[in-house]
């Protein structure tokens, strides 16, 4: 391969500046975090406000007690709910529900129909034996009505036991545990308290790194496809290839557009860290330097692998639409570990996780997920082998792509078949 770094850097600079100056770049930079942030905020707020509305609407509960167990039950249900998950200490809102007893189901239904009560509960005579209850409402919303169930259940338990136990025991029966710390065996051989919140943050960092890495590879790859398709469609390449070699052009594009993708993701990461750092500070989360080094290594090698692949695809296809169809199949491999995320987290040292972290197309994302899973203990040889396999295959794909690139760039009109592409990859000029 004859490569002139001076010319490759000229290409890289141009590609980088062209990519980051585009309106689409700025739009992606701002719109993607806004979109995901917005979706999360709407989902969280929506869920909380749904529960809140449900409790607020439950001002009265009509009860027909055929069992006779609740004749002396309290006439008020008091529910406390945290309405702002971000506030520390928790901000609680109190909701009160008046319990009204009806002599029979007919009068209960009348009250419900005339909107005197929003919900009703029928306690059958055999409730103690069967545990079966009937709840009535004028309408139902599967996403919000469930919020009213827990206060009703607690009222049932509390009033069932009130005559038999003291108030403390009744409270424990209603809520058996306010906190149940789990102590697990650590890597140092000692049992230590398992801090779910801290553990989640510990996991979130490699998880985010894995996700960002996957996105960075995808974004860089998209830029490569876009740039190449544009150059192919506008017939720029032939005059360019007289001024520099295909290898110079390929290396420059990989560098410049990879840097553009990295800039995008780095900006998102910086914004994420700035917003998330107070929470990380409270949880005393520290970024492990070796994990960061590995993240950078996996990013560079993963990008080399996918970037080369995308370049090859861009070279052999005739336009962006065609290029994206091909690219989608390969981009999908990058996200396979995310799809099987729960399996990797549940068994980070299992066969699936190990195989995915060794296979070059899935290695960057899968290995970062494994390394981030608290219960995993990835053997150093697996990390070494994974990096060697990724580097080796990245190099092979780069070489093949350079050959395909050189020939494919000047082919117009006809998309070559796979045997043709493989022949080009073996042949060269």
């Amino acid at each position: 391969m004859r490569l002139s770094w001076a010319r490759a850097l000229i290409v890289a600079r141009r590609e980088y500046l062209t990519a980051v100056r585009r309106k689409a770049f700025f739009f992606t930079l701002i719109a993607v975090p806004l979109y995901f942030g917005g979706v999360m905020a709407i989902a969280t707020r929506g869920e909380i406000s749904g529960r809140r509305e449900s409790l607020r609407a439950l001002t009265r509960l009509g009860v027909v007690d055929s069992s006779g167990l609740y004749s002396g039950a309290t006439r008020v249900i008091v529910t406390r709910m945290a309405t702002d998950p971000t506030s520390t200490p928790e901000k609680l809102e109190t909701f009160r529900t008046r319990v009204e007893f009806y002599p029979d189901q007919a009068s209960l239904e009348r009250a419900l129909r005339s909107e005197q009560i929003p919900q009703a509960l029928v306690i059958p005579a055999d409730y103690l034996e069967t545990g079966k209850l009937r709840r009535y409402a004028r309408s139902s919303n599967m996403f919000s009505q469930g919020s009213a169930v827990r206060p009703i259940e607690r009222w049932l338990v509390r009033n069932l036991l009130a005559d038999h136990l003291d108030s403390t025991r009744v409270e424990r029966a209603v809520r058996p545990s306010v906190a149940m710390d789990l102590y697990t065996l650590g890597k140092d051989g000692r049992f230590a308290i398992k801090d779910d919140r801290r553990e989640m943050l510990d996991f979130m960092i490699p998880f985010l790194v894995a996700m960002l890495l996957a996105m960075c590879i995808m974004v860089g790859g998209q830029y490569l496809l876009q740039g190449l398709s544009e150059e192919k469609e506008s017939r720029i390449l032939e005059s360019l290839l007289c001024a520099l070699s295909a290898e110079d052009l390929l290396a420059g594009k990989l560098l410049g557009l990879g840097a553009a993708g990295f800039t995008l993701v780095a900006a998102w990461m910086a914004a994420g860290l700035a917003l998330g750092s107070p929470m990380m500070a409270v949880a005393q989360v520290q970024l492990q330097p070796e994990l960061l080094v590995l993240a950078v290594a996996y990013f560079l090698l993963g990008y080399l692998f996918y970037g080369s692949l995308m370049t090859g695809i861009g070279a052999v296809t005739n336009n962006m639409r065609e290029a994206q169809q091909f690219a989608m199949m390969f981009s999908f491999m990058n996200f396979v570990p995310v799809i099987v995320l729960t399996s990797i987290m549940a068994h980070p040292d299992g066969a699936l996780a190990v195989v995915l972290s060794l296979l070059p197309p899935t290695a960057p994302t899968a290995m970062m997920l494994r390394l981030g899973t608290p219960s995993s203990s990835v053997a150093p040889w697996q990390i070494g082998l994974s990096l060697v396999l990724l580097a080796g295959s990245g190099w092979l794909v780069l070489r093949g792509a350079a050959r395909v690139f050189r020939i494919g760039l000047l082919m117009y009109g006809k998309t070559p078949s796979l045997p043709e592409i493989l022949r080009w990859a073996r042949a060269g000029k």
Partner: protein, 316 residues
């Protein structure tokens, strides 16, 4: 300057360029001719090192092509384009830098070229805002920037109005005067006659004509002279036939007769000679004749041709 020696390039088992040899001398304008699909573009791509020959070699100043020599070559392909959403000057700076200029020098050279093309005020505009003809001029600037020693131009005059055609010709003449060599591939035979010193014509990947443009034209015209006179010459020794042609007389000479001897006879016999020239077939007719009749050079056993050899096609 440029030597192409016995170059072969095949695709899918079919020889697209088959044992082609030629030499392009320093400072000349050399024509590369041939019908569509003859293998011209493949040959150019090998000369520009975009493709490598299966066999044979291509030398620039006696050395194989490499990254350094590549900087001295500029290529204007027939299928051309520019980055559309980029300011004109940025395109030129990019090409200039790729040819080894600093960003500053590339900018200065780019602006000077735009000035020469009467496009100075368009420097900061995006390429897509320019008309097609203007874009073609910018494309020509990308070739000229960096003052390349070898310019390879594939159909450079297509789509140009007469004024811009003249401008391109002037620029070529300037580059030639500055010592650059030009390899011109075109189907506009009048431009070849007007601008080119020598030519190579290929058909089906094989050489069919090679030599000076003047010699090729004369040899395909047969052994004849063109005479402009007040009357038809009669019974001139050495002349075996006379044909009227476009207001002139075409005198077909006997094999051993020379134009000088015939001119002497005409003067001695009192014929008024308004003009007298060795007959030369228009290059377009030569082209059609060679391609249609499948004529070609046969240099297979005698080794590669050199530029000093006369065009052999006309002798057939």
């Amino acid at each position: 300057m440029l030597e192409v020696r016995e170059v072969v390039k095949s695709f899918d088992g079919r020889a697209v360029v088959n044992r082609v040899s030629c030499e392009v001398r320093p400072g000349e304008i050399f024509a590369l001719l041939g019908p569509n699909g003859a293998g011209k573009t493949t040959l150019i791509r090998m000369i520009t090192d975009i493709l490598r020959p299966d066999s044979g070699e291509i030398l620039l100043d006696g050395h194989a092509l490499d990254g350094k020599s590549r900087r001295g070559i500029a290529y204007l392909p027939e299928e051309r384009g520019l980055y559309r959403r980029v300011p004109v000057i940025d395109v030129l700076v990019y090409y200039g830098q790729l040819k080894g200029l600093s960003a500053h020098a590339a900018r200065a050279a780019g602006l000077a070229l735009l000035e020469r093309m009467d496009l100075r005020e368009w420097a900061a505009k995006q390429v897509q805002t320019l008309s097609k003809g203007m874009q073609q001029k910018v494309q020509f600037c990308t070739v000229l920037i960096g003052e390349p020693r070898l310019l390879i131009l594939d159909e450079p005059f297509t789509g140009l109005d007469p004024l811009n055609t003249q401008l391109f010709e002037e620029l070529l003449a300037e580059r030639r005067a500055a010592g650059s060599t030009v390899l011109l591939s075109t189907h506009q035979m009048n431009k070849v006659e007007q601008l080119c010193d020598r030519a190579l014509m290929i058909n089906h990947g094989r050489m069919v004509l090679y030599g000076s443009v003047r010699d090729i034209r004369r040899q395909y015209a047969g052994h004849a002279v063109m005479l402009r006179s007040d009357r038809a010459p009669e019974a001139i020794p050495g002349v075996q036939g006379v044909e009227p042609l476009d207001g002139e007389w075409k005198l077909l000479l006997e094999p051993d007769a020379t134009p000088q001897a015939v001119l002497r006879e005409l003067v001695e016999r009192g014929v008024t000679v308004e003009s007298f020239a060795v007959a030369a077939l228009p290059l377009e007719d030569v082209f059609v004749k060679v391609v249609r009749e499948g004529l070609g050079l046969d240099h297979g056993e005698s080794g590669p041709l050199t530029a000093d050899e006369p065009a052999k096609g006309g002798a057939r």
